[in-house]
Point group: C2
Chain length 464, copies 2
């Protein structure tokens, strides 16, 4: 069955899809807000009940926080199992006064639906639910088993899901995980994200004198922790943007020729990117192009610096302490543990006399890279092209989605990141939106994907 | 007249001196606290009335803030004029719960008087008032004219006095300014401070992207302002403690042989100093000894660093901005304006593409150095030796007292910094104290100084 055959059904149901989405969006499921406990639970129940309409087996899995919603269609022996992952929780809505229409009063303007959660992630995950329900209602014999895992704590770090994942491994067993929680490359240019960067975070705290000292009476004889911190961090990252920590780049996988060519073909302008973020020149290691640097090269970024006097005016002290928060983005096949260990050793070696370094490890996750030649990607390409009328470009993403690498590790499954959103959708900001045409194209692409995957074999089908 | 002749008078009056001090200390003259307005004014009136008891001409000079108290004895033609400068305002008293006895309930324990302002500066400036009143009461014919300028805003920056100084120049005209608002070198070792460091402060603010950016999606292609700040500051100050800004050291006056010898003779231990501030090693330019570095060499200190995420946890951003507060201590004959201009030029040259530097100048004041061979110093040495029973050591101080350099500039007068306090007097901290024996020795030394100065000639007497 092709989308073309399903299209009349989808067209007929389009108003209903929109109504469903608006209903879900009206529920203020802000996972970080204790006053939204009832609504967050209600949003879980809404999608659970919606999934039940298709006759799926649905389960509400309680956690120490917000519940998980799990659903599955019947298994199809010998055919692939797809797990759709998404989340029903949303970001806070402040500053409220900047919203044109209320964050939980979904409103359509210029072909977009405006509401908190429209693109992140209710609107996007719903495409897969609606597509499956439509296939079932249309009497199509499902060629694969589809599972859903829709959680309520993605916006607060997914800690409970991460904790439960090993115990859920059997239930979630699948060949491929499909996630729609990201963006197309540009307006009118769909994309498949086949790579993510990993992450390693840590903090440096440098302790010097017992307490802040008078910079006049003591200055000159005391190692200033803030000065030492600047010197140590400057030693870690060169003016050319290259990280100077020995071993930092160990294992970094270089781009393949195909990747390099595809990347070069993407419409992209340094000048436009610089303008969009408000700078007059880009930074980083100039041996690599800017997209390459953002997607495929590791980074060492200072996320925060704190020492001594904050706020207005002066205070002539030698601060007792200085600290920095660091996050490194990693690429396949850097080993996060080794990177952190290398950084720790480097900074200890760099610590001058008179300073005590406290190195505090944060979280770490490796980068993710799907095989460009995987049959799942090929199926997704066909599905997207048929629904969007344009071949998707293959992109990577500089950010990290720790749960994706956890899925890979625990479930041993490939991940397909199929973003239907746009980069200006204001996820996490006021006036979050989702293009309704993309919502409907997403449903069509999802339906087509489920059908396409039916032609593949079960379990690591294409990995032979 | 020698102190010996005056001593019986001083001994008789000692209980009265102590009572006077306690009375003054009971007045909560916290200049920074608007709720202490009445008490601050009352403290000014208390010392004004006290000075009137000696028959001095006393004037309360109103300012935009707290009043100045001015007093003078009759002029003695051909003899020096001494201006005693001090302050009647005190620091705040928080944390109150750490005081053993109330900050404004002066209490004597172990030979010390405990109260806010005991050493800083009511107890110290009162020594000169009591000595003059005693000389007058004893019927001694004053060999010099003594003027007093006692202000109420020293603890909040002396801005009003600085502003009024030029218009008061004639009234304050003098040969030498005497200030007792500092410390002896050690217990039982009095000192004369003959040099102060100057100061130059400024702030760097580095602006990068328009707003904080996601360190994953953007990291690698954007110059991180926090990284740039560390690199620029690390470029400014070498690992060897030497400032790398071209021109920074221009004009620095080196120690004379006499100074170097006297400095080397001072009892001092690096290990003990390190222990006292809680570090295991000292810092700074190792070509100079630690006391030399603290007193006689310029510094470049970071007083504060601020960028991106503060507080607990992580936030994976490229911060939009990063800033540093800097204070440099300067020595004679560095030119503060030139130092700041050199720093501004250096940091502009160091600013990488993609970053906009905002350089904000703060305040600046040159260092001060009295001639070791001045007749005023010789007189003070004799006076202190006679009252304390030990020859004072000649020391310099790493801090800056901008009003002292302003006195030198506006009045053209030498300054004698005669500290009767001790470094553990807890000025600015709970349980401020002043050793009563030093209070009485200070009165004796002051009386002796006034007599000694009578043997000198008026106006730049020793500068011929």
């Amino acid at each position: 069955m092709k989308t073309a055959d399903l299209q009349p059904h989808l067209d007929t149901l389009a108003p209903q899809f929109q109504q469903d989405l608006m209903e879900w969006l009206r529920i203020a499921s802000i996972s970080s807000d204790p006053s939204c406990m009832r609504q967050t639970s209600e949003a879980a129940d809404w999608i659970a009940n919606h999934l039940r309409r298709g006759g799926l087996e649905v389960q509400r899995i309680e956690t120490q926080g917000h519940p998980l919603v799990f659903a599955q269609s019947p298994p199809i022996p010998g055919r692939p199992v797809v797990l759709v992952y998404g989340h029903y929780d949303v970001q806070p809505v402040e500053p409220l006064e900047q919203w044109i229409s209320g964050p939980f009063e979904p409103t359509i303007r210029d072909g977009n639906i405006y509401a908190r959660g429209a693109t992140d992630d209710k609107g996007q995950v719903l495409t897969h639910v609606e597509s499956l329900l439509t296939l079932i209602e249309a009497g199509v014999r499902l060629p694969i088993q589809v599972k859903f895992l829709i959680e309520g704590e993605e916006e607060v770090g997914s800690a409970n899901l991460e904790r439960l994942l090993p115990s859920l491994a059997k239930q979630l067993d699948c060949d491929v995980v499909v996630i729609s929680d990201s963006s197309q490359y540009d307006v009118g240019q769909p994309a498949i994200t086949y790579g993510l960067r990993g992450i390693a975070t840590f903090e440096l705290r440098l302790d010097g004198p017992r307490q802040d000292l008078h910079s006049g009476s003591f200055g000159g004889a005391v190692t200033n922790p803030a000065v030492a911190l600047c010197q140590m961090l400057a030693a870690a990252i060169g003016r050319d943007g290259r990280v100077q920590i020995p071993g930092f780049y160990d294992g970094c996988r270089e781009l393949t020729e195909i990747e390099r060519r595809r990347l070069a073909e993407l419409p992209y302008s340094d000048a436009e990117f610089a303008r969009s973020i408000g700078v007059d020149a880009l930074g980083g290691d100039q041996r690599y192009g800017a997209l390459e640097r953002r997607w495929t090269r590791p980074t060492f970024e200072i996320n925060g610096l704190t020492s001594g006097h904050q706020g207005e005016g002066g205070k002539t002290i030698i601060p007792a302490t200085a600290s920095a928060k660091i996050s490194c983005r990693l690429v396949p096949d850097q080993d996060p543990e080794k990177v952190v260990a290398a950084a720790e050793a480097f900074f200890h070696a760099q610590t001058p006399p008179g300073i005590r370094l406290h190195f505090k490890r944060g979280h770490a996750a490796p980068g993710m890279l799907s095989r460009l030649d995987s049959p799942y990607i090929a199926a997704a390409q066909r599905a997207i092209e048929s629904a969007f009328g344009k071949q998707p470009v293959m992109i990577r993403e500089g950010g990290s989605i720790p749960i994706v690498t956890r899925f890979q590790e625990v479930l041993g499954a490939d991940c397909l990141l199929l973003g239907w959103g746009l980069s200006d959708d204001n996820a996490h900001s006021p006036n979050e939106k989702f293009c309704l045409a993309d919502f409907h194209r997403g449903i069509a692409a999802s339906a087509q994907l489920f059908m396409e995957l039916g032609s593949l074999n079960h379990h690591r089908a294409g990995h032979g």
